[in-house]
Chain length 451, copies 2
């Protein structure tokens, strides 16, 4: 076993293809449904909003989809991302476990989101699109698309949920640094926004409203809309993470017994997990695949597998997924990126089939473990990524109890440099745990569309 701390792949080892898990799934992921007709969604309709290239990827069943050369060229800036062996953390935990983490915080936006942002912006550029729109909550996806747009010379307009817009001025600064326009949502720029503000001038906004504004803006101004998670093509773009990790674990002369990722919409989890699942589905070594979600938003663990809308405003197609009900507004945990009522249809399908398992973690445990991790490893983790850290540390603590030396791999999806307010509140004793919001979820689930 090597005694290295980090495993760096050569630039020429950046994956040449994205891995499409659909090819290896015996039970295919159910297609989205048009709420207007009750029939499978027509691609032509989606192409009025998304780029054609993204929609081709969305519906493909090919196992490997070639990454366009310009996208690979740009990824050379920060890819392959490092894989670390957490030797100091292992010592602190006094565990026989071997802990590895793949670190996506080295990207321009500071998270894995850039992997998909570059790919989506490229497809838009290739199709002659001049402008893209999107929504952002915590700001990681907005930052990523801003930077990708600046690379391809696209105009980029980001509708940022008003409460985050006010709380996180540093994220706004980063988006503007990369040349994007950031608009607090609800805004006066769209019909939807004006309608909401007419009713409630002090509205703090929601992702649902921001999505609606971004889509309206795109449709009205000949732009394309880009989404940062949930959809098949976004998950596909993230599979560079797991493919690199497989090669890096080989450098480490090891293979994970367990692979862990935090689950919000599902893109960072899919990024690390799908390539390992693919190996399994094709007869490779069995790996324990674990998705981690906040107790405040337990989609995979407490949700229902059903057709539901992707947004609060019910403007998207219906997707078959684990859901807490599209009207459910999760409590205000600091991991803004994990506050989503649904789960990517592909991940939901895999979870339904028992190919992966899921668990929840509580906010205070997440921050307690993030602090231990930061002090040991010298990396300031994002609150979202810290859900994976906490679950990995639990597995390592379990190994200490049992004496078993498991190999644990998790995805450290981003740094927390722009989320330091969360740590300040944690140190000030202002954060709390959230009980399972059962009545709210029951209520939201009771409103699921009947199909």
């Amino acid at each position: 076993m090597s005694d290295r701390v980090k495993y760096i792949l050569d630039e020429n080892k950046i994956p040449t293809h994205w891995y499409n898990i659909e090819a290896d799934l015996k039970i295919k992921t159910p297609a989205p449904i048009d709420p207007a007709t009750g029939a499978p969604m027509e691609i032509a309709k989606l192409e009025s909003i998304f780029s054609k290239g993204a929609m081709e990827q969305e519906t493909s069943h090919e196992r490997y989809i070639e990454i366009p050369k310009p996208v690979r060229e740009i990824m050379r800036q920060w890819r392959p991302s490092p894989l670390y062996r957490a030797r100091r953390l292992e010592k602190v935990l006094d565990t026989p476990a071997r802990i590895y983490y793949k670190y996506e915080g080295v990207s321009p936006s500071g998270s894995h989101k850039t992997n998909s942002a570059i790919a989506q912006a490229f497809e838009c550029k290739r199709e002659g699109v001049k402008k893209v729109t999107t929504e952002t909550g915590a700001g990681q996806w907005g930052s990523a698309l801003s930077q990708a747009s600046s690379i391809f010379g696209l105009e980029c307009r980001v509708y940022m949920v008003r409460c985050s817009f006010d709380q996180k001025p540093y994220r706004k600064a980063m988006m503007e640094l990369f040349g994007a326009t950031t608009i607090a949502s609800p805004s006066m720029e769209t019909e939807v926004g004006r309608e909401v503000l007419a009713k409630d001038p002090d509205c703090r906004g929601s992702l649902g409203i921001a999505i609606s504004e971004a889509v309206e803006d795109a449709l009205k101004h000949g732009a394309k809309y880009c989404l940062g998670s949930v959809l098949n093509h976004v998950l596909l773009h993230q599979t560079v993470i797991g493919q690199e990790a497989i090669a890096q674990m080989e450098m480490a002369e090891d293979y994970p017994d367990i692979v862990i990722g935090a689950c919000g919409g599902g893109s960072n989890f899919a990024g690390i997990a799908f390539p390992f699942i693919g190996e399994m589905l094709r007869g490779g070594r069995k790996v324990d695949i674990l998705g981690v979600e906040p107790a405040a938003c337990p989609t995979l663990t407490k949700g229902k597998y059903a057709y539901d809308f992707g947004d609060v405003a019910k403007t998207t197609p219906l997707m078959k997924m684990y859901t807490l009900g599209s009207s459910f507004i999760p409590p205000a945990v600091h991991a803004g990126g994990l506050r989503y009522h649904g789960m990517a249809p592909q991940i939901s399908n895999i979870a339904k089939q028992g190919i992966m398992r899921a668990r929840t973690v509580q906010q205070l445990d997440v921050f307690r473990d993030a602090v231990v991790f930061a002090r040991a490893e010298g990396i300031t983790p994002a609150p979202e990524s810290s859900h994976a850290i906490s679950a990995a540390m639990d597995e390592a603590r379990e190994c200490k109890k049992t004496g078993k030396s498991k190999s644990i791999l998790f995805n450290l999806s981003g740094h927390g440099h722009l989320d330091m307010t969360a740590y300040l509140e944690y140190f000030a004793g202002k954060l709390k745990n959230y009980e399972y919001p059962e009545p709210e979820i029951a209520m939201a689930l009771s409103g699921l569309p009947v199909l």
Copy 2:
């Protein structure tokens, strides 16, 4: 010529020794003087404040000083740091120049400061010290020493200048995340602090006061004091940067015609420049060495080469250096790390001998160029590091005019994720240039001690 974007050295290429420029200087750097006696400072006096190990390095004339193995082990986490070819920036500037930058923002604290923090904390640990103190302005050095202390299990107390403490809560959060205690200075914890506050309860603090508080705290509580720049041993620790850069330029099959670093106290500049200067002094290829400082604090360009105190409160030994006068308080430019009245004695000596040159840049030009750089290269630079960016871009623009294809290398000493307020103010049109503060500097210089 290779067409790579980044040059990554293998972990086993981390330098084994620090490079001590003193060995190659014909005219040695004048020793510090004890203001009480007018004679060279006794080492024993300094060792009551600093670790013995640091003072041995401070006074050594050996060319290579071995890096202790535990320090190298820890550096494996983020070293060797990447060297980038700025291909997209070159395209934006339409320049025949080849632009390279060494990126130190990958360290745990986000800047080069960690290189010295680990080395200093290690010496303290080795000597049985339990606690270290320091001061910090913008917070980069404080973050670095906090993280290094957490690695070695040292208690760390950081006196942070009150105005920065209030302006930069994210830096405080990072220091606390790494386990340090951050105290707004002036504080009620020290005699000095209480005295200042008795006179002015609303005092916003200064580095001079914070240094005095940190030193008093160290002396009273059996701790050691650590400094983040200026002194020989701190510059020494940074020479890993330039040594790696030499190896990486070789990978790029190129050699710089010009090497550029921003100059505050001098540590990041020395880090990139000293190893190249050493090559020159030992008969190697001639390189144009350029130090860049803010027009608001033009130490090398407008200062006087004389013995002066290192702090406003006149508590340090006298050092022979370029100085604007220790009572000079530079205007509030956003590059807090460059707001220092003096310059490292070794750099001052080299500048005096004409081995390097220096220039100033204006704040608005710095931010204009930082924005161009960020959009092209996808990295959010610190305001300090952006001084080097701006000067490098000027050199590249000059190449466009002359048609000459120079090879330009600069040190990108840190990221700006915790300095986004500066960008917000720049975008809001709130930043301004500063004229050369001639009367204030003349006044401060008139108070130089007579030796």
